[in-house]
Symmetry: C2
Subunit: 103 residues, 2 copies
DNA sequence: TTGACGCATAAACAGTTGCTTATGTAATAT
DNA sequence: ATATTACATAAGCAACTGTTTATGCGTCAA
């Protein structure tokens, strides 16, 4: 459960796309496989990484596994990046920011 | 210049720590090397990845390279993760959210 | 109960990553 | 001029990643 598991999980484009799909509704594994040009084991592997990062949960319905998003761990990323917000909202940039705060 | 270069750059704990240091002030490469239990080429390698992701800039002063943060590319991460905000601010979670929006 | 379906896991493999030591290069110091 | 400093880059390597094919296991259908 290293803190950076969430960052690593989200660094992969396919996994971000999976999260985007899951943010609209539950998907079975086959639903997801149909959306990507990739084999089922490859998708299952990405789902495992997302699962271990706590970013998705699943429930079994018949022989399907329905995956759903669990967004809470994303807050760690949000909190980290939010600290840098002044570095893009302030046109002055870092030096100007420093001068503005220490006049 | 793939969009996910920023995500990959930030997925690495050392590189996040470097950005955190640079968010306070400029650092020379040797300054950074002194902060981590790692050789200089390893730090230079991380700096190159951050540079290619547009997350740091540097200027030469004498024989030193002073690195500073350039936060703007982080906005891509911020924008992506902000879309998921309701998945952790809402105690109800995804299903409850769906029911709340579709009563 | 036999076979097909949905998915996880294992094995294997090329490509990438993160690190090291070794070397090169430009700027300063002696 | 020569040596030293600050850094980049190259070469090499073990470990990790993302993928594929092969296999196994539980669930449903015939």
């Amino acid at each position: 459960m290293p803190a950076s598991a969430v960052f690593e999980a989200v660094a992969e484009p396919t996994r971000r796309a999976v999260l985007d799909l899951l943010s609209t509704r539950e998907h079975s594994v086959n639903d997801l496989v149909a959306r990507f040009d990739m084999t089922q084991p490859a998708i299952s592997h990405h789902l495992r990484i997302l699962r271990e990062a706590g970013l998705v949960k699943n429930r079994q319905v018949g022989r399907q596994r329905l995956y759903r998003l669990h967004g809470r761990p994303l807050r760690e990323i949000y909190d980290w990046v939010a600290h840098y917000q002044r570095f893009w909202t302030d046109k002055l940039g870092a030096l100007g920011e420093h001068l503005r705060r220490n006049p």
